[in-house]
């Protein structure tokens, strides 16, 4: 069972702590995504698992065996960088049988397994093609066939889709997951693209400053972020700061500095505690007619930014707060710059967090 168990892993480069006391278990056959901003330690974690870097302390077990002292070639994991590191001077066939040749298997066995793998990914008729002669999808299939041929059951993918153009990236990420699942492999996929992580993963771990700050299914990560940072990183969010001043029927109430109050989701925080509430821009509702209910605020559309499928609105509320709302572009024509509107926040969607240690602004910074 190729299960990966990481215990108390630490990696220090000079003064920089890249991976900080990290514990992680990756289940057999799981498609795990490591998500995080630049410099979070994502690639370092992959390289440690592959054996390309040596950890400062802690241990890694693969398949029940401690691999800390094993060189990369004996760990039975395959590390693939952008565009899958297909060797540019070798054709599809030579790439595929690289692992068996490197391990010195006898040539008959190599021929059989190479053919079997290439046929499985429907590339046998292109076996003489060099990587640059293959399409993006074919390259991906070639790389996976090569990994399987090398007897690897664990794939470490370092931003594999990054170098592709946008359209192809969307197509290939689904094919990638399907192939990995069909072949029964375990995959750890590093990305900084939250949308990619949400669509492809069985489970996401969110890495920041070398620590796992949340782990869960895509739905959990999206709906129940553990911190304002994650709330903002996975889909943008608007935030309000204030003090918890009471409980409502199903939730709580937050009062901002200027005295405005918001009904927000339920929380374990005590009344009187400082708190931050955040709502994703998709769930920030814009309405034409003025209202005076709970969580209704009048405001003016300051800026309208067309983003393709969505349109982003920057709205100055009359109470001085500036918020963003995101609408599907198909209905965005209803609002224009200068329009007086009503903004409504659904209390259920206004998630509550304790005030971050370094303050909200520092928390939301990407680095």
């Amino acid at each position: 069972m190729p299960e990966i168990i990481i215990r108390n892993l630490k990696k220090v480069f000079g003064d920089l702590v890249a991976i900080d006391s990290l514990d992680l278990t990756v289940k057999d056959g799981e498609y795990l995504t490591i998500l995080g901003p630049t410099g979070a330690g994502k690639t370092t974690l992959l390289r440690l698992i592959a054996g390309l870097e040596k950890q400062t302390s802690g241990s890694i077990h693969i398949d029940g065996k401690c691999v800390d002292e094993l060189p990369p070639e004996d760990r039975m994991v395959t590390f693939l960088s952008q565009t899958y590191s297909l060797f540019p001077h070798m054709n599809a066939w030579q790439n595929t049988i690289f692992g068996p040749i490197a391990r010195g298997w006898d040539s008959e066995k190599v021929d059989i397994i190479g053919r079997e793998m290439l046929e499985m990914v429907h590339l046998y008729d292109r076996k003489d093609a060099l990587p640059h002669e293959l399409s993006g999808g074919m390259q991906q299939r070639n790389a996976l066939a090569r990994a399987l041929c090398a007897d690897a059951r664990i794939l470490l993918l370092d931003e594999p889709l990054r170098a592709l153009d946008a359209r192809l990236r969307l197509d290939l990420r689904h094919e990638l997951k399907k192939l990995v699942k069909d072949m029964g492999m375990t995959a750890i996929h590093v990305t900084h693209d939250q949308e990619e992580a949400l669509t492809i993963s069985d489970r996401i771990i969110m890495l920041r400053d070398g620590k796992i700050i949340q782990s869960g299914t895509p739905q959990e990560m999206f709906n129940k972020p553990a911190s304002p940072f994650i709330h903002h990183f996975i889909g943008e969010a608007n935030f309000m700061e204030g003090t918890l001043t009471g409980k409502t029927g199903t939730g709580s109430r937050l009062t901002g500095e200027s005295g405005r109050t918001y009904d927000i989701a339920a929380t374990n925080l005590e009344v009187g505690a400082k708190a931050v509430a955040g709502i994703k821009t998709e769930f920030t509702i814009m309405e034409k007619e003025a209202k005076d209910g709970v969580n209704d605020f009048p405001g003016t559309v300051e800026r309208k930014l067309f983003l393709g499928r969505f349109t982003d609105f920057e709205i100055a509320l009359d109470n001085g707060h500036v918020v963003h709302a995101r609408l599907p572009s198909s209905i965005a024509h209803k609002f224009d710059e200068g329009d007086k509107i009503n903004v409504h926040f659904d209390p259920e969607r206004l998630l509550v967090f304790p005030v971050p240690e370094k303050g909200l602004k520092a928390e939301l910074e990407m680095m």
Binding site: E73, S81, Q82, S85, F87, A102
Partner: protein
């Protein structure tokens, strides 16, 4: 498991890899770096010798005034290393141009077992100062050599007529020159020449680099090849050919244009020939890197081409300029063979000591050839090493800090200079410069052979020296590959960044240190271990100055190679040796080849290091320089042409192979 796999597995073991890197570093330090810098230790261990032989002013020489008209007089001097002979009139005024003194005397050194002649009877001696060293002799170590001058002087006036008489007597004074003065003069000459050469290279090279990168025209491909031509010719042959073309050559008058008898101008013309390609290549390389969009943007913003070049492109240029300056300067500072050949051709007599001028490297060559002079050699080499290393640092700092006057823009004049005939004139001048200063002088030797008076050639000696040269070049090329490739890998891929950076800096050192100084240093190092075998010494000297070539080439290629390919290969189950064989080697093999061929041709053409490490090594360039010295121009030219042909074929093969690889 097959045998090959088993070997691979043993070689891939962590211990084996570490041990191999250890050996490579050790080899690099012991064979290259320590010998290169060993001469510096002389300052500590033998300062007394330097003090006494160089800095201490010898006792005032007894000027021996000989009235030259008074019949045969023997001039005996018991004195120091160098005799300074000045010819002057009764008022003490040195006889100067335009008068020429023809000395009907012979100066020779009379030692126990041999008589060595410096000036032969009938030699024409232009007026001025002459340095004649009295040689130390192994069997006769006292400073008790006797030089004899038999006189009888005739004199010519400005128009070249011999005079029957002259007013008043002439005097010949013999006294000793201080070695320090000689060293100081040679250093000055070396640096002034290197500076002038570099400046001319830049001025003439910039338009050419621009032409090569930014313009498209028919025949560009051929121009590209032509620029590199001088690099295919060993400098000894270049010196010979260039001097033949430009200079007044007293031994065989009328061989070329006969335009100059100034050693200074001739050496500058020569050094431009072999340094110019380096400048053009360095500037073109960086120009190629600079995004043309900046220039387009500036031009669309209204700047005329000259303003764009001055304010946008040139400031981005500095890295290339640093490389170009360092390469040209150090090549000029280092060159020995061609300089010796050219100087010998200006000199009417057969001596190799009494050149009209000495550069640092030729002075080393002369002293080494004479034998003895260890403190002088060490001190000169030391100065050359230190100054060239300091130069590297200074040039980098100065160029990077230097600010061009960018703010001031003169739209009127600059627009005018960007239009019409001016740019065309600039391009035309660049081309004329290249043809007249580089190409014709380089290949003049061919016309000399076809039109010159044939003379018998001692082919036996020639092929013997050819064999020796090939043996040396072959051995050093193999050693370069064997140790240079792992060192390059260690520098680029090493886990210990500190070690990599130190090795990276060290590996450039032999490129900058003048090869003659390197030879002196290296000779001292091995002599201190009582190793004096000529073949070994020549090989280790050539290894030291060629070592950076393979390392630099391979390191450059490795930096281009994405390390993730190697890492992916490892995770697919490949051992380090297998990764090298299948992933790394296919990508760097042409760089290894390029470096190897550069090392091979540099070794074939090198004179300075060879002469400085062993007194009488027998390589082809040394053989050629020897022929030039004694005035055997026809055999020398033939030998040059054979050597050029072989070097040229080697370079063409390299071009062919690398071009094929690019496709």
């Amino acid at each position: 498991m097959s045998l090959a796999k088993r070997i691979e597995s043993v070689l891939s073991r962590k211990g084996t890899v570490k041990a191999w890197y250890g050996i490579v570093i050790l080899f690099f330090l012991v064979m290259v770096i320590i010998p290169t810098l060993f001469v510096l230790s002389y300052a500590i261990t033998d300062w007394n010798n330097i003090q006494s032989d160089i800095f201490t002013t010898p006792p005032e020489p007894t000027p021996q005034l000989i009235i030259l008209e008074s019949g045969n007089t023997k001039l005996a001097f018991h004195t120091y290393d160098i005799i300074d002979i000045t010819i002057y009139n009764q008022l003490g005024v040195v006889i100067d141009s335009p008068g020429t003194v023809r000395l009907n005397y012979t100066v020779f050194e009379n030692t126990d077992d041999s008589v060595k002649t410096y000036f032969s009877k009938g030699d024409e001696l232009p007026s001025g100062n002459y340095n004649i060293p009295i040689l130390a002799n192994s069997t006769h170590n006292e400073i008790n050599h006797v030089g004899t001058v038999t006189q009888n002087v005739t004199m010519r006036d400005a128009s070249g007529n011999y005079l029957d008489s002259w007013e008043g007597p002439l005097y010949l004074r013999a006294g000793s020159a201080r070695p320090m003065d000689l060293i100081w003069d040679a250093m000055k000459v070396s640096f002034v020449i290197a500076t002038i050469v570099t400046i001319i290279d830049f001025i003439a090279g910039l338009p050419m680099a621009w032409l090569m990168v930014r313009k498209n025209f028919r025949g560009k491909k051929y121009l590209d090849t032509l620029i590199d031509m001088p690099l295919a010719i060993p400098t000894a042959a270049l010196g010979f050919s260039t001097a033949l073309f430009w200079a007044v050559t007293p031994k065989i008058p009328g061989a070329g244009l006969g335009l100059t008898s100034s050693p200074f101008i001739l050496i500058i013309l020569l050094h431009i020939v072999f340094s110019y390609p380096y400048m053009v290549r360095s500037l073109a390389a960086i120009l190629h890197e600079i995004d043309i969009n900046y220039e387009v943007a500036a031009q669309t913003l209204g700047a005329p081409p000259l303003t764009v070049a001055r304010t946008i492109t040139l400031p981005l240029f500095r890295a290339g300029l640093v490389t170009g300056i360092i390469l040209c300067f150090s090549r000029s500072l280092s060159e020995t063979g061609g300089t010796v050949a050219a100087l010998a051709m200006l000199t009417p007599w057969l001596s190799d000591m009494a050149y009209p001028m000495q550069t640092g490297p030729t002075l080393i060559g002369a002293w080494k050839h004479a034998g003895g002079f260890e403190p002088q050699l060490a001190f000169t080499a030391m100065l050359l090493v230190l100054i060239s290393l300091a130069l590297l640092v200074v040039v980098k700092i100065v160029i990077m800090k230097f600010k061009l006057p960018l703010r001031k823009v003169m739209p009127g004049p600059e627009r005018l200079l960007s239009k019409g005939a001016v740019p065309k004139l600039k391009d035309a001048l660049a081309m004329i410069f290249m043809v007249l200063v580089l190409l014709i002088p380089s290949f003049f030797i061919f016309s000399f052979v076809f039109t010159g008076e044939p003379a018998p050639v001692d082919w036996g000696t020639f092929w013997l020296s050819m064999g020796f040269s090939f043996l040396v070049a072959g051995v050093i090329t193999l050693l370069n590959i064997l140790f240079g490739v792992p060192l390059a890998i260690l520098i680029v891929r090493g886990k210990n960044k500190m070690l990599s950076n130190i090795l990276d800096v060290l590996v450039n050192m032999p490129l900058i240190v003048p090869t003659a100084a390197l030879g002196v240093s290296l000779g001292m190092f091995w002599n201190s271990m009582s190793i004096e075998m000529a073949l070994f010494l020549v090989i280790s000297a050539h290894l030291a100055f060629t070592f950076p070539l393979v390392v630099r080439n391979v390191a450059g290629a490795l930096e281009e190679l994405d390390p993730t390919y190697e890492e992916t290969a490892r995770t697919l189950g490949a051992k380090p040796m297998f990764v090298f064989k299948k992933i790394m080697y296919p990508s760097i093999k042409f760089s290894i080849l390029a470096g190897a061929i550069m090392a091979f041709t540099r070794s074939l053409g090198e004179t300075g290091a060879t002469l400085a490490v062993v007194k009488d090594a027998n390589t082809v360039p040394v053989y050629i320089v020897g022929l030039v010295k004694v005035g055997s121009y026809y055999p020398a030219a033939l030998a040059c042409i054979v050597l050029i042909a072989i070097t040229f074929i080697t370079m063409m093969v390299m071009r062919y192979i690398t071009r094929k690889a690019e496709r």
